[in-house]
């Protein structure tokens, strides 16, 4: 049974319960278990199902007593990770919107250069007939083609970015905490113990 008490001690240490409080709980627990053993009572008769899960038992007891020290906000990974993820998501969405806006309003120059590259291609002269107008206007045709596609593509990206930003504001932003709280409430587990 001392192993059980040691497991509890480790859990209290992990939960940053003050040493004096942890020592007191451990001493009481060890004395009770020793007395129960002397009486011929099983640990389950003293601890219930907590006898099979010392960490859960220890956490439940410490929480009920209100002796678990709250972790600093900067060290709490449950707070830090969502904040980092949220920052990355918002940055990506804003970048998407800006790119979409740039393409939609036609301010992107790089695409024009890439599309205009065929201008340097010399058409092979065909003796029977002069180069067709279509061949000569090929770069222009491409530009016109790209001119139609790019704004549409830009609009699509813009819409994706705006919709993503709206969804983020509704479901994942700090202002959406009440909505998340309602969703979490249905999955709260009391854990072991009657308390």
């Amino acid at each position: 049974m001392s192993e059980f008490v040691e497991e509890c001690r480790r859990e209290w240490k992990r939960l940053r319960v003050a040493d004096s409080v942890a020592n007191e709980m451990a001493a009481d627990l060890a004395a009770d278990l020793a007395e129960a053993e002397a009486d011929g009572a099983s640990p389950e008769q003293v601890l219930g199902s907590g006898a099979f899960d010392p960490r859960s038992f220890a956490a439940s007891w410490a929480a009920a007593r209100g002796v678990i020290a709250p972790p600093p906000a900067s060290l709490d990974p449950r707070r830090r990770t969502p904040r980092l993820r949220g920052t990355i998501a918002v940055t990506a969405l804003i970048a998407t919107i800006l790119v979409g806006l740039a393409l939609f309003t036609g301010r992107s120059g790089s695409t024009q250069v890439a599309v205009a590259a065929p201008v340097n291609v010399q058409p092979v002269p065909v003796p029977q007939s002069p180069p067709s107008a279509g061949f000569r206007h090929f770069p222009l045709a491409l530009n016109q083609h790209a001119g139609v596609l790019l704004p549409a593509f830009g609009l699509l990206i813009l819409l994706v970015g705006v919709v993503g930003l709206i969804l983020w504001v509704i479901y994942w932003s700090p202002w959406a905490e009440p909505i998340r709280a309602v969703r979490r409430r249905s999955s709260i587990d009391d854990g072991p113990g009657y308390g």
Partner: protein, 117 residues
Amino acid sequence: MATTERRRTELLRGVLDLCLLAVMQDGPAYGYEMTKRLRARGLSIVGEGSIYPLLGRLERDGLVETHRAASNGGPPRKYYEASAEGRRRLADGVSEWRAARDAVDGVLGPVETGVAS
């Protein structure tokens, strides 16, 4: 069997604090001593919980007072006894329990408990 134990645990969940405050009326007691008093009155704590978290909550809420004292030949133990607020809570809780028990008995009382065929 597991269902029976779970139901029993659920039933006890709301009144075990009253049971602990009640057995403290026999005098201050440490954790295991309270378990023995409960068992002597017919209530065995064999289920999904233990009294320790509940004692912790009672202490946190100011419903019990504690002191350390030597037990019979053993190490010093933490003794619990009901505070004035705890005794008030016990009186209120017992009235609520009796009202609830009577209401439930009114519904369940006429039900035959034999195995249905």
